[in-house]
């Protein structure tokens, strides 16, 4: 019997060892790749990631010394002070590491899904298009962190981030691409992707055609190609509307009004049931990407102690319901001595494609191409959902003045997106915009014994250094100054 058993075992050696452990598989079918695009690493940044560090670098924020930088991490103070080196060699660069990890998954899907089993050609193309859109979004982010703001004249020579197009864990040769090459790749990916994307994504965490179009519109705006952006934003709006179930703006007048769904206002976290407290609230998202923007999470860039600068606070009309996301009570339950506001209903900032931003992007490119009426309509569409309609209209003098209207739209971006990190990217692109030439940006650290003011050194500090860990691993790679 034993001998027989031995024979059997020897005979089926391959199948005996060929077992798939629980909770593991390799990607074979199109469905496998489809499920990879459901990876929450692509849309939910629970511990680190998103635009955390850039919240600290916008000019709408200041800091209170009693709370800021108290954790044993130097990253937040360095970012807040706009220092050149934010990451030393020994610093663990969680955010960028997560992003390059995402890029691995995206490249794997882009390069492998067309050869996968079982799925239809259309399904495969659609999944590939999603991955290409996300790759473009990542490259757009990197180019706008590590490359100079886009100027057609110099973009071909300005170094940006390496273009990573293969998924390989042992690759070891990376070269920085130019800003122009990066944008070319971004536009190529988006352009290829758009026709293959579905009008209706299964969930807002998946890429729809509108999301890719809005992203491309934003890319054009960041390149100063406002004329190209206008039709792209129109297509995006059309496609949002065409989707059976689509994003909509919350009307804060309703939700924060008596009996509103965001209520009650908690002393701990502001509007208790508002989208800022619920990472799963996808109502306003065309493409949802959300990160943990709350207090200290132990992973580097804590934004404890940040407050709205008095200047930024002054941009809000008193009736602006968005002010309900801020409190003047410090974490110790005492009113802030300087009356400054800290955000407490913004635990989960969003940085995918938000419907609110689409209105502002559309408004901006229309204003820039002198369609002032269209621009006003777009910006007011957002504003009337954020404050009583009576206060939502753009003052006539501004509505009639192109420059003033553009500046008003930019300010609206601050009001809508303070403490999300958006402002940093606006600072960069506006630095090459003659309309905003000469702007000086400062950060104030408020301290009872004397405030400290830091000034953003332009243009050098508008471009971040690539984290030293990445440079060290690539001898010969020249970092930004």
């Amino acid at each position: 019997m034993a001998m027989a058993l031995a024979g059997t075992l020897a005979g089926c050696k391959k199948s005996f060892l060929d077992i798939v452990p629980k909770r593991s598989q390799v990607a074979v079918t199109t469905t496998d790749y489809d499920l990879l695009m459901n990876s929450n690493a692509l849309y939910y940044y629970q511990a680190a990631g998103g635009l955390r560090e850039f919240v600290l670098m916008g000019d709408e924020v200041a800091a209170e010394s009693a709370y800021f930088g108290k954790q044993q991490s130097a990253l937040a103070p360095r970012a807040f002070q706009w220092q050149g080196m934010i990451f030393e060699s020994k610093d663990y660069v969680l955010d960028l590491q997560n992003q390059t990890g995402e890029m691995y998954t995206l490249n794997k899907v882009i390069n492998e899904v067309m050869g996968s089993a079982e799925g239809s050609e259309d399904q495969k193309k659609s999944i590939q298009a999603e991955a290409k859109t996300r790759r473009a979004m990542l490259n757009f982010l990197w180019t706008n962190i590590y490359g100079k703001p886009y100027l057609a004249a110099t973009a071909g020579a300005d170094p940006a981030f390496p273009l990573i197009l293969e998924a390989s864990s042992t690759a070891n040769s990376f070269k920085r691409a130019s800003v122009q090459a990066s944008y070319d790749q971004i536009i190529k990916d988006l352009t290829e992707a758009i026709p293959n994307l579905p009008l209706q994504a299964v969930t807002p965490t998946r890429v729809s055609r509108a999301a890719a179009e809005a992203t491309l519109g934003k890319v054009y705006i960041f390149m100063g190609k406002y004329g190209d952006a206008v039709p792209m934003m129109k297509k995006a709006f059309d496609d949002v509307a065409a989707a059976a179930v689509h994003a909509r703006l919350y009307d804060y007048n309703v939700e924060l009004g008596p009996g509103g769904t965001f209520l009650p206002i908690s002393s701990y976290s502001g509007p208790a049931n508002g989208p800022g407290n619920n990472f799963n609230d996808l109502t306003q998202a065309v493409l949802s990407k959300v990160y943990q923007g709350g207090s200290y999470d132990g992973n580097g860039f804590e934004n404890d102690g940040l407050v709205l600068t008095p200047a930024a606070a002054a941009l809000f009309a008193p009736s602006d319901m968005r002010l309900l996301l801020y409190t003047n009570v410090d974490p110790n339950n005492m009113p802030n001595s300087g009356g400054r506001l800290r955000p407490y209903g913004l635990k989960y900032p969003r940085f995918g494609v938000e419907l609110g931003e689409m209105y502002l992007l559309s408004a901006e490119c229309k204003a820039r191409t002198n369609d002032l009426a269209g621009a006003v309509a777009d910006v007011e569409m957002l504003r009337k959902n954020r404050m009583p309609p009576a206060d939502a209209t753009v003052p006539g003098a501004i509505a009639a003045d192109q420059t003033a209207l553009i500046k008003f739209i930019i300010e609206e971006r601050i009001r809508e997106f303070a403490f999300t990190g958006y402002r940093w990217f606006d600072l960069r692109r506006l630095s090459v915009d003659p309309l905003f030439a000469g702007a000086v940006y400062t950060h104030t650290l408020y301290d009872p014994s004397g405030n400290t003011v830091y000034t953003l050194k332009q243009p050098e500090r508008l471009v971040l250094q690539i984290p030293q860990l990445f440079i060290d691993a690539n001898p010969g790679m020249v970092n930004n100054p």
Binding site: A2, L5, L9, K13, F16, L17, I19, V20, P21, K22, R23, S24, Q25, V26, A27, D32, L35, L36, N38, S39, N40, Y43, K70, Q72, S89, K90, Y92, V93, Q97, T100, G101, Y104, T105, K108, S169, T170, A171, V202, T203, T205, P264, S266, Y268, S269, A272, N273, N278, F279, N280, S288, P331, N332, N333, M334, Q468, L469, F470, D472, A473, N474
Partner: protein, 1274 residues
């Protein structure tokens, strides 16, 4: 049954040999002989002989000349023989011999190169009279005696020689007259058949037996396979008797004043004067060294090798010390210091828990230094030939034999898992042809209560003093602390500061706190005396075809935590069956059940606030509401709104929850050995084990954590609102978890054993195939609102609860536990292996092994595993060479050398050829719905870890075995170490798994056994083991940027050029005038600036793994008393004494059972100038200043806090007593051994800090465990 052999006095050529040596030689030769094939066929020698009417002696001489074969006989036998006529040409020896003996009253046996003559069996005689029917003449008596060992076990086959019995001849003739064949009665075996009575060969001083034809030989009997030793004063001897299976012997008609000389193999010879006694009891003492020299065998799990011919590095512990070490039930702990080259990591930090989560634990061990960085460094554990996860299921009383395999030749047969060495355990089995024996062993091991003194903390007075000194109400503004934990003394200080109470009131309150000491209450309420009791009853016995060993044991572990129970029941039954000569089957079955339970006793130690009592003077338990972590006002607010009582009373709390585990283990191992043809056999090993376990945990809703959970999920904006509970208010939290471990092994092998060159050589070949599977599973269900009695539970809205609520009483609440969790881990191996052993001329041996393993590394290419593992070994038994014969003080000397490779297979994951995907955690529910992540990235460049080992050793036995031992040198080069390698971070991974480098272990091991004193009633013997290991990381992958910082170097467990587990430290440069720690950099500058220290400024202090380690056991036996003292030592290593001095922030900021500080805090820097007298940094309340002005790590990780951890300890000391035989006879008990044992006495330690390096500053559960035990055999 009686065996006897009478003979005439005979002559011995004296002077050549000492008597003892003779005994030993004879014995070993006979053992050897009986192991060989006693068949007389196929002798290849050709003989040409032409003799006419010659004496047999002459013929023998001629055959000897031609063949070299020796003849063994008694010369008087030949006198009665006929003359021989023989004429043969080129005839085989067998044929010639049968011609010679055709008409002679002999047959013959060919043993080795000896031809032993044997009288032809006479017909069975029906006796008219039994010997005892005949009355003995005056002055002569009939004697009945019984030979036993010291424990009262019968010794069969012992030789009893009667001296000074001249009158017996006449008596014999009377016996003869009565029909009793007394002159030369044939000895009979157990079945009544006559057995051979053969003369023993005379032996030259060393080496192979040389029987000389013309020389009369001493007389020796072989009965039922048990060789009898012929003792010394043979010349005077008259009669020889052999004790039977029960140890009984009968002597007829011996002089009543005769002296009996009783001897047996492995025992001390004893002389007893009869003095007219007819009943005598003989208790023989074990001859320790000689027994070992003869009987030591090594089991590697695949074959059993004699020590003499084994080429590899095998070690066996002193099993007596192992058995006696009852202070632990853990097998590995019991081996501490007993095996040269194996370190057992004792103490709490060395505990290894089963991954399966069934709570089974063992102590971690390291054989010959660490040879891996990322993979396991644990040896492979093998039980009865089958790898197991750990030895936790075995009762140490059932262990029969332990062998530790250290080098490639010994371990390589275990293939890809053997690089860390192998520990092979074989459990007891019954002896064949032995009567049924019952044995009881039991002990109680008393550990008492823990000793807090090693982790000394501030007493109440010091504590209050320190609290006053460090109180900083400006930096720690009261308003910031409104919802924080605040200890009672802090409340007083803040009340004083805020003007709520006067200074006098505050001081009075603080003084009263300072006068309270809660240590007694802690010891009495939260601890109890710990003890372990163990009882084992075993039974063994056997007949000619069946034997068994069975045991039942019960272990009760009464830990020092109140409310804890742990009971283990083990049943073990091993059977051996040989239905025919060619089939042997053994079956080992094992059943064990461990049941534990505990309540919710908090782990309170002297680290808790020293003034907080748990009961007041009236014995009422006290509430400690500040331990909820909330301020009084906040807690009252929460309580009012939620209407949930938020008092905290730790004594009541203890009964609000409990945990129960019930683990079952079933293990069946069968071995079959079927002889197929001549030396060819089939061996099969089949093992199955299953270990289902249940873990149940319940915490009532009254438990504080559950009340806090409820409050955090209660919506009640004001106290007037009716609270809305989003969480169950009744029942409790229930966790039900089941785990299972299922393993099986199937091994089929063929073995071929032969003795080429007419038996002068030994050959053994084996080849086989093995398949193994190990499957561990674990499922758990977590319910809330569970009612234990009704078994009902609440249905929760998990999706909503996991997103959290922001409007609850505490501001925010959520519930994140997963209702269901499952884990499964399966590994499979298929392997092919082969072994070859050859011994030439009993002097030169070689061993070869080869093995190929394939495992189910998911996602990897099977061909990447085609890395066979092999070894080669050779041994030269030098003492058997002729030129060594003259060196009489050397009894054994062997040289051996081995080389080979062993592997360390990676776990599933790192070696995948494809990206391995895994599911998103299903909890909290992902927004997108189910999805996949990449868990392991494709990595096609990984090799298995391989260790190449060279081993050179010498074995020796000197001075008639009084001194024996071995020395070994090894060189282990482990290449392709698997570990974390730096990836180019642009790839998406900062690190990946790769082959990172190689580490070399070199070492010397020494083991010595000696009998220092051996006089009449007193023996002193010593066992000494020593291991020296030099470990060095030779090459390593390019380090990560982090590891090139001071922190990276301080926290690493490897550094190129140094041994693994290096300890690096800052060079201390004292405190500055602010009490800030300063360090000296490599360029001699002194700094305190954070981040100023670079990687090269951090200096090497040594390794944290012992470099020299081992044990020293001394055994003293005086009459019935035995004293054993076992010392273990670890030398040449260092440890870091991380002194947890808090030097910033609030002194009592931690809630829970902390709050107190190391006693050193009282000695901190307080004022300028203190830097001259202390190294303990100053206290700074402002965390930012602390962090920006200085680095406390410069103190904690300074070289002054690294100490030499060398120590030697009496691991245990045991005093035993064997009850006298006279008492035992009366109660019909064979042996009773009583002992007491005490453990853990520091003999010497290198550090002057008073630290026990085994425990560091942690609390010691028991300083000196004390045991009392008994072994009784029936």
């Amino acid at each position: 049954m009686l065996f006897s052999a009478f003979c005439n006095p005979f002559r011995v050529k004296r002077g050549v040999l000492t008597k003892t040596l003779l005994v030993m030689r004879l014995t070993s030769i006979l053992l050897l002989s009986t192991c060989l094939h006693l068949s007389a066929n196929s002798r290849a020698q050709k003989i040409t002989l032409s003799e006419h009417h010659s004496s047999l002696e002459k013929v023998f001489r001629e055959i000897k000349r031609q063949t070299g074969y020796l003849f063994v006989y008694r010369d008087e036998w030949l006198r009665e023989t006929d003359k021989v006529d023989i004429d043969v040409k080129e005839s085989p020896l067998d044929e010639v011999l049968s011609l010679c003996f055709d008409n002679q009253p002999f047959t013959y046996l060919v043993i080795d190169k000896m031809i032993v003559l044997k009288q032809k069996p006479t017909a069975v005689v029906t006796l008219a009279l039994q010997p005892w029917d005949i009355e003995a003449p005056p002055g002569l008596i009939d004697v009945h005696g019984r030979v036993t060992d010291e424990k009262g076990n019968p010794i069969s086959g012992a030789t009893v020689i009667v001296q000074g019995n001249k009158a017996t001849a006449e008596y014999i003739s009377r016996l003869r007259a009565a029909g009793v064949p007394a002159a030369e009665p044939a000895a009979r075996d157990a079945n009544g058949y006559p057995v051979a009575t053969v003369p023993a060969p005379v032996v030259a001083s060393t080496g192979a037996p040389v029987a000389v034809v013309d020389q009369p030989a001493p007389h020796l009997a072989i009965a039922s396979g048990e060789p009898a030793a012929v003792p010394a004063p043979l010349a005077k001897a008259f009669a020889v008797e052999i004790s039977d299976a029960n140890g009984d012997f009968f002597l007829h008609g011996v002089a009543d004043n005769a002296t009996l000389v009783i001897s047996s193999v492995g025992y001390e010879t004893q002389e007893i004067k009869l003095n007219k006694r007819k009943e005598i009891a003989v208790r023989l003492k074990i001859k320790v060294t000689e027994l070992k020299n003869i009987e030591v065998t090594y089991s590697n799990g695949y074959q059993v090798l004699s020590k003499e011919r084994a080429t590899g590095s095998y070690s066996k512990p002193d099993m007596e010390a192992f058995k006696q070490r009852v202070s632990s039930q853990d097998l590995m702990t019991r081996l501490d210091g007993l095996v040269a080259g194996m370190t057992v990591f004792t103490g709490p930090s060395g505990t290894l828990a089963n991954e399966n989560g069934n709570g089974k634990k063992t102590q971690s061990a390291l054989i010959r230094g660490a040879s891996s960085i990322q993979l396991s460094r644990e040896p492979l554990y093998v039980l009865n030939g089958v790898p197991v996860k750990d030895f936790s299921d075995i009762n140490p009383d059932d262990v029969g034999d332990i062998t530790v395999l250290k080098d490639a030749a010994a371990a390589a047969i275990w293939g890809a898992q053997a690089a860390n060495g192998v520990v092979v355990v074989v459990t007891k089995s019954g002896k064949r042809d032995s009567r049924i024996k019952v044995n009881y062993s039991g002990y109680i091991n008393y550990q008492g209560k823990p000793d807090f003194s090693r982790a000394s903390t501030l007493n109440s007075r010091q504590y209050i003093q320190a609290a006053k000194e460090t109180f900083d109400p400006v930096y720690n503004d009261y308003s910031y602390l409104y919802n924080s934990y605040m200890a009672p003394h802090e409340v007083i200080l803040y009340n004083q500061y805020r003007g709520l109470i006067t200074d006098a009131q505050a001081n009075a309150s603080l003084d009263s706190l300072a006068s309270i000491n809660n240590l007694d209450q802690i010891k009495n309420l939260w601890y109890r005396n710990a003890f372990t009791t163990n009882h084992t009853i075993s039974m063994s016995g056997g007949g000619s075809i069946y034997s068994f060993y069975g045991s039942f044991s019960y272990t009760d572990i009464h830990s020092n935590t109140p409310g804890e129970k742990s009971n283990a029941y083990r049943l073990n039954f091993t059977q051996d069956l040989s239905p025919t000569r060619n089939i042997k089957i053994s079956l080992s079955t094992n059943l064990n059940n461990t049941i534990t339970s505990n309540k919710r006793a908090p782990q309170v130690s002297n680290l808790f606030l020293p003034y907080q009592l748990f009961k007041d003077a009236q014995g009422h338990s006290l509430t400690m509401n500040y331990l909820t972590g909330w301020s009084d006002s906040l807690r009252r607010d929460y309580q009012a709104r939620s209407r949930v009582n938020l008092d905290y009373n730790p004594i009541d709390e203890m009964n609000y929850g409990h945990t129960r585990t019930n683990n079952l283990g079933i293990n069946i191992t069968a071995n079959a050995n079927i002889r197929l043809w001549k030396g060819l056999s089939f061996l099969g090993t089949y093992s199955f084990s299953k270990q289902p376990g249940i873990y149940d945990s319940y915490d009532d809703h009254r438990a504080l954590e559950n009340r806090k959970q409820l409050v955090s999920l209660t919506v009640a904006p004001t106290a007037a609102d009716v609270p809305v509970y989003l969480f169950p208010t009744n029942g409790g939290s229930y966790l039900h978890s089941t785990n299972d471990q299922k393993d099986w092994t199937v091994r089929n092998q063929l073995t071929y054993i032969a003795n080429p060159r007419q038996g002068r050589d030994d050959l053994s070949l084996q080849a086989g195939q093995e398949a193994r599977q190990s499957l561990s599973t674990r499922n758990s269900i977590s319910l809330e609102g569970y009612d234990e009695a009704l078994q009902t539970y609440a249905i929760l809205d998990y999706a909503t609860l996991s997103q959290g609520y922001y409007n609850t009483v505490t501001g925010y609440g959520g519930y994140y536990s997963s209702p269901f969790d499952a884990q499964e881990n399966e590994t499979r191996f298929t392997s092919y292996f082969a072994l070859a052993n050859y011994t030439f001329d009993h002097k030169y041996s070689i061993d070869l092994s080869w093995r190929q393993d394939h495992s189910n590394l998911f996602g990897s290419d099977q061909s990447s595993q085609d890395r066979p593992i092999w070894s080669f070994g050779a041994k030269w038994q030098l003492a058997r060479e002729n030129f060594m014969k003259a060196v009489t003080w050397v009894n054994d000397l062997g040289l051996r050398a081995t080389y080979g490779i062993t592997g360390n297979s990676p776990y599933v994951g790192p070696a995948t050829s494809y990206d391995v995907l895994g599911p998103l955690n299903s909890y909290p529910p992902p927004t997108s719905g189910p999805g996949l992540n990449i868990n392991d990235y494709a990595n096609r460049t990984l090799n298995w870890e391989t260790t190449r080992t060279l081993n050179i050793g010498i074995d020796f036995a000197l001075l008639r075995g009084r001194l024996g031992g071995g020395v070994e040198y090894y060189h282990k080069n482990s290449v392709d170490l698997i570990g974390s390698v730096k990836r180019n971070p642009f790839t998406g991974q900062s690190t990946g798994t790769g082959n990172i480098g190689n580490v070399i272990n070199r070492g010397i091991e020494l083991s010595l056994r000696s009998i220092n004193v051996q006089v009449k009633d007193f023996t002193w013997s010593t066992n000494f083991t020593l291991g020296w290991n030099k470990n060095k990381l030779v090459s390593y992958t390019s380090p990560s940027p982090y590891s090139l910082t001071d922190y990276g170097k301080l926290y690493t467990n490897h550094w190129i050029g140094y041994s693994l587990n290096p300890v690096f430290a800052y060079k201390w440069a004292g405190l500055d005038n602010l009490g800030d720690p300063q360090v000296m950099l490599a360029d001699k500058t002194i700094t305190k600036k954070p981040n100023a220290v670079k990687v090269d400024d951090v200096i090497y202090k040594g390794t944290s793994t012992p470099v020299v380690y081992g044990g020293l056991s001394n055994n003293f036996t005086y009459k019935s008393f035995n004293l054993a003292v076992n010392i273990t030592y670890n030398l040449g290593y260092v440890k870091r004494d991380i002194n947890s001095v808090i030097t910033y922030g609030r002194m009592t900021a931690t809630s829970g059972w902390g709050g107190n500080l190391s006693a050193d805090f009282a000695n901190r820097w307080k004022k300028p100038g203190d830097e001259k007298i202390t190294n303990i940094p100053s206290y700074v309340s402002d965390g930012y200043i602390n962090y920006s002005r200085r680095s406390l790590n410069y103190y904690s990780y300074a070289d002054i806090n690294v100490y030499n951890a060398s120590y030697a300890k009496v691991r245990d000391i045991t005093l035993g007593y064997n009850l006298p035989h006279s008492i035992l006879r009366a109660v019909r008990v064979e042996g009773v051994n009583l002992y007491v044992q005490a453990a853990n006495f520091m003999v010497w330690k290198a550090n002057k800090l008073g630290i026990d390096p085994e425990f560091g500053r942690s609390v010691i559960a028991s300083n000196h465990p004390l045991s009392i035990g008994a072994n009784v055999s029936f």
